[in-house]
């Protein structure tokens, strides 16, 4: 992956000045490149990675295996996008193996997620079956561990 993209991926809030210094490129060039990516949809947004278990908010997350009937012309895409447009849905992946779509859904409580599956997801034409698995705890998300591995135990000065 492009070095600038990698840096943004590990820290989307890095300043233009630092990016410029680290990559040895002028600030203007970096800004222009990022603008281009934003325009072309390569960069689709910037978010904080939040350890939700450390917040007050209650929530429930489920991974749902969905089997669907592919459609002539669109394959899985139309139904996948239709599912993906629901705000409750965090991510949708087309999978190889025993089911077709893996859908991550987040809701305030068990009932809202259950009702989403019952009322919205399972009733979409073309959806053959769903299997819902609730998550119990998050250890790592988006490449970030939810607890520190260890603090820095290095000597403060060493040769």
């Amino acid at each position: 992956m492009n070095e600038l993209l990698q840096l943004l991926r590990s820290n989307g809030r890095e300043t233009m000045e630092n990016l410029s210094a680290m990559l040895g490129q002028p600030v203007e060039e970096i800004q222009a490149q990022i603008k281009t990516w934003e325009k072309e949809g390569v960069i689709r947004g910037y978010q904080a990675v939040i350890n939700e278990e450390a917040t007050e908010a209650d929530y429930v997350r489920a991974a749902i295996e969905v089997r669907i009937t592919p459609e002539r012309g669109d394959g899985y895409d139309r139904i996948a996008l239709r599912i993906g447009r629901f705000p409750e849905v965090e991510s949708v992946f087309l999978m190889s193996g025993g089911y077709d779509l893996l859908v991550f859904v987040k809701g305030d409580n068990l009932r809202t997620v259950a009702s989403f599956v019952n009322q919205r997801l399972a009733t979409i034409e073309g959806v053959l079956s769903t299997a819902t698995h609730f998550t119990l705890k998050t250890y790592k998300d988006q490449g970030v561990l939810m607890q520190e591995e260890s603090h820095d135990e290095r000597l403060q000065v060493s040769p």
Binding site: E3, Q6, L7, N11, E14, N18, A21, M22, L23, G24, E149, S150, D152, R154, L155, Q156, V157, S158, P159
Partner: protein, 392 residues
């Protein structure tokens, strides 16, 4: 001659009295009394050893790998090192007779010196340099002879400087490129010239290339690969820096059979073998560690750029370090010695760096700033440096 003294001090062998305490240790003791210091003084990676390497060591422990190994080290690891050195440095060493696993490069360096010199022999080494070189030579009753490198040469080693210091008693030339603390690297022309110098004076070369994986834009070169040098070179390398494995204490030496055999004698009667769990981890590092090394190398390069820019903003001159993870800027024009600069910077801004004088007399006027730390810390440290230099 009898020693009638009852003072413990007088029981210590005289040649140890002449070796000063490391300047780094003194400085460490001052730094360790302070809270929330941002340290640019740490000579080791801030990365934790990549998980797959740690995991392989845990797996080995689970499987009961708790025994001694062959004195030279696990053959499988020596074979992997042979492949690695061939692939990265284009020199071929026989795993059966020319490669030995050691407890870090530090042990290998000690073995090499003791295997080569007799009391009174002279050893050339370049300064500013890693703190252990002169003491290790003195422990073996050799005479350390420092050869100065200069900022205007980007701290590369010049033949003129070498010629000025070589004598009929010189036996060994020690090299460490990329260099701790300067980040200097040699060019292909440099290593060829130095090789010719070594042949001319019939010297053995000990080359400590622990930082070679952390070479940035420059082409990586090794004197061991220069035609005719293999027979008179002890090539040292290890896993501490590039694979972030300092605490595993694992390194290796490559040298012709006669030299390896001599070093092995010392190793077998003093260390016996390197710890087996560290050897297992090192094997995993060589077999599957390339991606992790590339990632860390790229990260260090980005941080180096950030730091060098910060140093320039603070009005300090600094050559662009091409290897290792240290910047070595000049502060001599600010009217403070290296030591005083580092002390006042610590006291006034709570940032630790190491006075250049800790790395040899010619390091005076410089400070060593390690960029093996987070970009946030580099940013804060450089902002404070600017405040500090402006106040002087």
């Amino acid at each position: 001659m009898t020693n009638d003294s009852k003072y413990p001090h007088d029981f210590v062998a005289p040649h140890l009295h002449n070796i000063p305490r490391s300047g780094i240790r003194d400085f460490f003791e001052i730094v360790s009394t302070r809270k929330d210091v941002i340290s640019l003084g740490i000579g080791e990676p801030d990365f934790i050893t990549p998980w797959h390497i740690r995991e392989s060591s845990i797996y080995a422990l689970n499987r009961g790998a708790t025994s001694y190994t062959a004195n030279l080290g696990l053959l499988e690891l020596r074979k992997a090192i042979s492949d690695y050195v061939q692939r990265r440095f284009d020199v071929n060493y026989d795993p059966a007779s020319e490669i030995m696993i050691t407890v870090g490069v530090s042990e290998a360096l000690d073995l090499a010196i003791r295997a080569l010199i007799s009391p009174g022999d002279e050893v050339l080494y370049h300064e500013p340099c890693y703190v252990s070189y002169a003491p290790v030579i003195a422990f073996a009753h050799g005479k350390p002879v420092a050869v100065e490198t200069k900022a205007e040469d980007d701290f590369r080693l010049s033949i003129d400087a070498l010629e000025a210091k070589v004598t009929p008693r010189t036996r060994v030339l020690m090299l460490n490129f990329p260099t701790n603390p300067t980040g200097a690297v040699l060019t292909q022309q440099d290593v060829e010239d130095i090789a010719a110098f070594a042949v001319r004076h019939n010297l053995v070369v000990i080359t400590d290339e622990i930082y070679s994986e952390l070479t940035y834009e420059a082409k990586r070169v090794s004197i061991a690969a220069v035609p005719g040098m293999r027979e008179r070179t002890i090539f040292l390398n290890g896993f501490s820096k590039a694979w972030a494995m300092t605490g595993f204490r694992i390194g290796f030496s490559c040298a012709p059979p006669a030299l390896t055999e001599a070093m092995m004698k010392l190793h077998q009667y003093t260390m016996l073998c390197a710890p087996i769990l560290a050897q297992k981890a090192a094997l995993e590092a060589l077999v599957n560690g390339d991606d992790a090394v590339t990632h860390m190398r790229n990260t260090y390069r980005q941080r180096r750029n950030l730091m060098v820019k910060g140093l320039q903003m603070a009005g300090l001159q600094c050559h662009l370090p091409q290897g290792a993870f240290y910047a070595f800027p000049y502060v001599g024009h600010l009217g403070l010695s290296s030591h005083d600069f580092a002390m006042r910077f610590l006291e006034e801004q709570n940032v630790a760096c190491v006075p250049g004088s800790a790395f040899g007399a010619c390091g005076e006027g410089f400070i060593r700033c390690a960029y093996a730390t987070s970009t946030e810390h580099i940013e804060i440290a450089m902002a404070r440096l600017q405040t500090f230099t402006t106040s002087l």
